[in-house]
Symmetry: C2
């Protein structure tokens, strides 16, 4: 994504539908101080006022798997109905480290491969690249993932002598697609993965940012909440729901894995901890304290903590969807279509022409608006007609101006 | 090192010469708050009071290579006389991530190998393992590294079709050996590495903790300070000199490396940044702010910031060396010998019997004192007579009691 960052830096006055950054107006430094102190007070109570132990926990080398694992487990129960042993939680340097550690643990040699829905989040492709793990694409469907194709890809891989180990999915408001898997797809996916010996790596950074959690649009259960066979490794991020400045994420890995040829097993989380001790040793306890404090002051619920942010994301998504409809009426040129996610940060527009890096650069220069060419989410291949729009961090006036600019760009190119 | 951690947890009342933790009595949470605010004030001044930009820098996704790179470069100039372009600095999640990124960048396939002095810091061996990079041992000498052996190992590797890419060294108060390379060895090593096309990976977590920096015992220049050919990648840690709770380290990588088959080059630091974007995205800016603030309040000098810690480490090292001499007089049983580092955290004792994990466990149980069996710093192989003693985090009475216990253990086993 270096090219995209360079374009953004080169045109700082451009309105960006490219950056998937969380909304930041509600973040502030006094909250960070307060949250650290709140977590310190929590430790103090827990350690019966032993100040040396509080200090040692916050300011010394520490537990590889983290110091907020119990609060993370409580959060999963409160917000997602997921019940896990805190020992199965590994607190990581963002979800990205969790992804890398998981893939590195699954990869034994070149025959171990990862499956992933195409288009794929660039961070997942990047982690697989670092872990030297080949990624086999699985077809996307309107319901998120084509489960029949998943089964076919796994079968073909096995026939070729490969070992399909896991499938990476973002079932809620996926990046880049914005698609959410429906309940039937979730259930079929769990069954198909189980039958084919595949772990599911469920990445859920956006699940909280859905429609109002009431009535018929109540959020769907995560794969991990539906998982009865320990078939799901759950990847969590606090970058969107906690504070991006902490770089704290986690992985829930409650599977038993073999430790060696003698048939002994250990918790996958412990295996990830061993790998983490060689990669980053432990996640900054000061950074963890910020997230710990935020969880404490919200009764363990990030749904509660993010009520204002959720309202912003819903408003922005509605504005962009309505704004596209006004600017690109059906049946008239330029012919632009788009999907209609019910939450999250992203949607995908199809333009009447291929929109690659060169057109992004031109659009930034001539029209001062940024978006992400979708070809970045495909392994290789040239420019595509689709672009990803991110709605997360914009103000209403930026959205309107940005869509005006986008419309001018598309119209100019549709000539 | 999981076994060692387990033993330590199992005998919490044991005195530990095992843990290489920095002294923590001078760390406190109010300083963390103050340092974050100091760095925020520094940003505020720099951004002409633009609060949104200050907040965005501290609490949002940010620059992959870090936000305190200029302060790190200034620190290197102030404390070490190393002059580097801040763009060549990558701020990492501890020195461990810096090590992994560097090895991952150097490793293209199985033929790329790392050289390292044996015994080797376990973190270096771990990073090489994660990066799937084979480590070829180089002999240690009284002056730290046997440069002739380095040349011979590199030559033999090439003859076998391997590509020796780099040699990992800790020239100042090495872990586990405590040895410092003398000046002549540093110069010979630089020349030999250059002649043999090897990068030197200089890891320097303990360089500040030497004898009083006056007169004849002035600290020796680092390899990077002596480097005139960009042959040294410098790995830095703030875990010992800044705050272990931040997990902030860095790497200086001012070499040009090829980006692909077309002959174009880029700064190695930029290549490491690309890999980091797939591993941890960026280092927590909140954690970086703590280190940034500490650098600011000490005029960029960690030597100044650590005057009290240095005095503790010097006192502890002297106490352990004197205490060993009193308890194990030369020519009398039990025959115990040890080296005499002039700084750092570690020294190595040779016992009259092999001291492996089983004896450590017994020693912890029967005598309530911990040390590190040296065989952990060798690739495989059984128990050895050497043990590593760490002096860094103990109080005087713990040292005396701990050495009494150690003497009883050794005497009991020498029967």
């Amino acid at each position: 994504m270096n090219f995209l960052n360079e374009v953004a830096q080169h045109y700082p006055d451009a309105i960006s539908f490219a950056a998937g950054r969380p909304y930041e107006e509600f973040l502030d430094l006094p909250s960070v101080h307060r949250q650290i102190d709140l977590f310190a007070a929590h430790l103090r109570e827990r350690f019966d006022g032993d100040e040396r132990r509080v200090r040692g926990t916050l300011l010394q080398y520490g537990r590889t798997k983290g110091i907020i694992h119990e609060l993370v487990a409580r959060n999963l129960e409160v917000d997602e109905g997921i019940v896990v042993d805190p020992e199965a939680v590994v607190v990581t340097v963002g979800c990205q480290e969790a992804l890398y550690l998981t893939l590195r643990a699954l990869r034994r040699d070149d025959r171990d491969v990862l499956l992933a829905v195409l288009p794929t989040y660039v961070g997942a492709a990047g982690a697989a690249h670092l872990a030297d793990m080949r990624v086999l694409p699985v077809a996307q469907s309107a319901a998120g993932i084509d489960v029949d194709d998943l089964v076919a890809v796994a079968r073909r891989a096995r026939e070729q002598g490969l070992r399909p180990r896991a499938c990476y999915v973002v079932p809620d408001f996926g990046n880049p697609s914005g698609i959410s898997f429906d309940l039937a797809t979730r259930e079929r996916l769990l069954a198909a993965a189980h039958d084919n010996g595949l772990l599911l790596l469920e990445d859920n950074p956006y699940g909280l940012f859905g429609a109002e959690p009431t009535g018929r649009s109540a959020p769907l259960p995560t794969l991990k909440a539906l998982d009865t066979t320990r078939g799901v490794v759950y990847l969590g991020s606090f970058a969107k729901t906690g504070n991006p400045g902490t770089r704290v994420g986690y992985v829930v890995a409650d599977q038993r894995v073999e430790t060696g040829p003698d048939g002994r097993t250990e918790l996958l989380a412990d295996r990830l901890g061993e790998l983490k001790s060689m990669l980053t040793v432990n996640t900054s306890p000061i950074a963890q304290a910020v997230i710990g404090g935020k969880l404490l002051e919200n009764g363990g619920s990030l749904r509660t903590a993010n009520e204002r942010e959720c309202a912003v994301y819903r408003r922005n998504l509605r504005m962009v969807l309505d704004g596209l409809a006004r600017r690109f009426p059906a049946g008239r040129r330029p012919h632009v279509t788009w999907n209609r996610p019910t939450g999250g940060f992203f949607l995908v527009c199809a333009l009447p022409f291929a929109a690659g890096d060169d057109l992004l650069e031109e659009c930034a220069r001539e029209h001062r608006v940024l978006w992400t060419p979708m070809h970045h989410f495909y392994a290789g291949g040239g420019a595509r007609r689709e672009i990803r729009l991110s709605v997360s961090h914009l103000e209403p006036e930026e959205i309107e101006t940005g869509l005006d600019r986008l419309a001018r760009f598309v119209t100019a190119h549709d000539a």
